[in-house]
């Protein structure tokens, strides 16, 4: 089909279309029907975060690596276990920052 024919058909289609409808009280009617907006509940998110942290703490509670790392870090000794602990904290902070920035960008 030629472009000229396409243009002619499209022109006829546009001519046949009446275009946007004038308001005539429609918006007011809809606004009167709007229910109050429900705020998104925050507690499931924080409950999830709390449970996750609790599960991590429980699983690492009896790990000698964590205790050794923490002890060395407090003494200022950069041992392998202290270094692993630092890396884990840095990685989690980076993930949290990335998540916050992605959420902010979506807004």
């Amino acid at each position: 089909m030629s472009h000229q024919h396409d243009d002619a058909i499209e022109a006829l289609l546009r001519k046949q279309f009446d275009g946007p409808v004038s308001d005539e009280g429609f918006s007011e009617r809809v606004m009167r029907l709007l229910p109050p907006r429900r705020q998104r509940m925050a507690w499931p998110l924080w409950a999830g975060v709390g449970m996750g942290m609790g599960a991590c703490w429980l699983s690492l509670l009896f790990s000698p690596l964590l205790h050794a790392g923490w002890r060395n870090w407090m003494r200022g000794e950069l041992s392998a276990s202290a270094f692993a602990l630092l890396l884990a904290i840095a990685g989690m902070s980076l993930l949290a920052s990335w998540w916050s920035m992605a959420e902010a960008d979506d807004r």
């Binding site: 089909m1 024919h5 396409d6 058909i9 499209e10 006829l12 289609l13 546009r14 001519k15 046949q16 279309f17 009446d18 275009g19 946007p20 409808v21 004038s22 308001d23 429609f26 918006s27 009617r29 809809v30 606004m31 029907l33 709007l34 229910p35 907006r37 705020q39 998104r40 979506d106 807004r107």
Partner: protein, 191 residues
């Protein structure tokens, strides 16, 4: 194009005002900006049934209000609204037959013209009735509402290739339907 981008930014900021500040006035602005086109879309889908179209448009905006936090800005706000409106239309008409066109226009052969422009337009309306529902819907969104093929695919939840095929096929059928007008015009031009 720049206008479209500016309009989209205005919509985005209004949406943000509703979501962050629970601002009903911002939603009212969104409603006033888009009600005309959404109602026009639904009137075409419902073949001019204004009351039913307005009921569906009302349902569309109430749904948009409730689900506004699901609008992530990947599509334009107007496109997102068209999609909700089309889903509302499908939900109502999935179990019922597709709204019928004007009965007088069915199965009428193209007639010789007396008043060229009016008859051409009437004949074009008859030609539109010959298209399948999908072809009519795609042409409504792509040509009359001015959406791109990508946007129409999003609104109609169709694969992009299917949208393009329906658009091309619909235009080809209309061209064939109106072929007699080309011949008449050629005969009138030759002495």
């Amino acid at each position: 194009m720049a206008d479209n981008a500016a309009e989209a930014r205005v919509d985005q900021s209004l949406v943000a005002r509703v979501l962050l500040g629970n601002d009903r006035r911002a939603f009212e602005q969104l409603l006033r900006r888009h009600q005309g086109t959404v109602r026009a879309q639904l009137r075409r889908l419902l073949r001019g049934d204004e009351a039913a179209a307005d009921d569906l448009a009302q349902e569309t905006f109430l749904l948009a209000w409730r689900k506004l936090d699901q609008f992530r800005g990947e599509a334009k706000f107007s496109t997102w609204l068209y999609r909700i409106a089309y889903s509302c239309f499908l939900q109502v008409y999935r179990k019922r037959p597709w709204p019928a066109g004007d009965a007088d226009m069915d199965e009428v052969e193209p007639s010789p013209a007396t008043s060229h422009a009016v008859n051409l337009q009437l004949d074009f309306e008859r030609g539109m009735q010959q298209l399948s529902a999908a072809e009519q819907t795609v042409l409504l969104h792509c040509v009359q509402l001015g959406l791109s093929h990508d946007e129409a695919a999003f609104v109609l939840a169709m694969p992009l290739g299917t949208v393009k095929t329906h658009a091309t096929r619909g235009k080809a059928k209309l061209k064939a339907w109106l072929a007699a007008w080309d011949e008449t015009a050629t005969e009138e031009q030759t002495p």
